[in-house]
Symmetry: C2
Subunit: 279 residues, 2 copies
């Protein structure tokens, strides 16, 4: 199968590497408006050629949109305008605004909205790796609006990437994503800002980072170009979750300040219940 990938960063590159390695793609065509990214992807070798959007879309049987959601909202309708009977999918972390944008497009049925829940804190074609998606979940959204053969093709692709496929409507997807992914990133960004503001002596941060800081702050290295549009497109959910999160932090703060030792103990015991769910 000839596959076109639009956006040749961490995600697009990692998809390319494993789809080729596992025999799903015979040829991969890349599109990226950033010339440095495009050249790097070609040089690294995970795309066979780099060309313009129109030519890339025309040649491919499957088109994967792997750009940040603010770019996807502009590029997705253009891609749908260009296709004949090809299948189009995306990998964006927020789904509702994107699906709303193409709701009445005549080619809507050939598009399958997807969110493979995987990533690292790194970005760019240099960060692309094999195995990024193995064992994780990919969410297909609002599939009742997609053609059954288009869904089958995208589902097959995620099976090749070793992912569990989950179905969810886009509204529920965005709520869940706010809780389990977007809030974690804001929590980590704010933690980094807090520590950077205080710890002028950077050596101490490095020395003491083994105390748990390193794992909670890992996500604070994530790309602003990717995450700013995610927070913007999932604004209402993210703000709601942040309010809840800030309230829980205040409960800790006040109990600690008032020496309510039993209450602090209970809050931690309550939080420990996450053990049942996340290994």
């Amino acid at each position: 199968m000839i596959i076109t990938i639009i956006g040749l960063g961490l995600m697009g590159g990692s998809v390319a590497i494993d789809l080729r390695k596992r025999g799903f793609a015979d040829k991969i065509i890349g599109v990226d408006k950033d010339k440095i990214n495009a050249n790097a992807a070609h040089h690294i070798g995970f795309v066979d050629e780099v060309t313009d959007l129109e030519s890339a879309v025309k040649q491919a049987e499957l088109i994967i949109l792997a750009v940040p959601v603010d770019a996807a909202i502009i590029v997705l309708p253009k891609v749908l305008d260009l296709i004949d009977n090809q299948v189009v999918t995306d990998i964006c972390s927020t789904k509702e605004t994107l699906l709303e944008r193409v709701r009445y497009h005549s080619k809507r049925k050939q598009y399958v909205a997807a969110h493979p829940m995987a990533g690292t804190e790194f970005s760019g074609p240099w960060a692309a790796v094999s195995g990024l998606f193995d064992g994780k979940a990919s969410i297909l959204c609002d599939t009742e609006d997609s053609d059954i053969r288009a869904i089958a093709k995208v589902k097959r692709m995620y099976e090749v990437l070793n992912m569990r496929v989950i179905y969810m409507n886009s509204s529920n997807h965005d709520i869940h994503a706010a809780y389990v992914s977007h809030i974690s990133h804001i929590s980590s960004f704010a933690l980094a800002l807090t520590v950077l503001e205080k710890e002028k002596n950077e050596k101490h941060i490095f020395d003491l980072a083994s105390g748990g800081f390193d794992s909670t702050v890992r996500l604070a290295k994530s790309s602003p170009d990717m995450w700013t549009p995610i927070f913007n497109h999932n604004k209402n959910n993210v703000v709601t979750v942040l309010d809840t999160y800030i309230n829980h932090l205040k409960a800790f703060r006040d109990s600690i300040e008032n020496d309510e030792i039993e209450k602090v103990h209970q809050l931690i015991e309550q939080a420990n219940k996450i053990k049942r769910i996340v290994k």
Copy 2:
């Protein structure tokens, strides 16, 4: 050397395993008021015998206090009352209140306050592992109040555990620990509470946890018996840091709510600077 370890959980057990394995300890005596812990430690084999505090202290050349800080504040003066010319050290995560407690003890010089910055989210003797401390930092506090030979012995012990030894006064230690360790834990506990409150459908948390949630929530599995006293004994620093953290979260919240996309982008770029410091 005969070593007594008081408190046979994750930390005490992990110290025991490597001090024996690496030839630093010839015999390890264990003390734990929890009979289940004591029996487990003996059964697992990282202590040679389990006995009462007085007998254990009398027999040993080096006594390591590996109990939570609220217990240490009671046990440390008792241990100092019992010793002749032995060396005593502890591994508590907060130092100022503990050091204040024994400031005028006649055996103060034989005590070396230490905080090896390592751990996992697990607890109990079953969680003890070899290599827990390798490559990390251990902080010795207020060493001007300790005997030079006592310091040398404790320093040697941490070298055997493959740790970098850092010197800091207890007040600075507690501030730094609040920023790089204690706040990470509260951030993670509050994140777990937020998600548990919302996500009644636990399967979704599990399915979606690969989106960054798993790494930020790992610390939320940590023991309330250990962490409640830490927050209590480092109250002022922890409350100050929490206030700063909550303000940064509010800055994110308000910029997202008001569609200040440039501001959100800048906040993330600023947070990204943590890359320079934490690998």
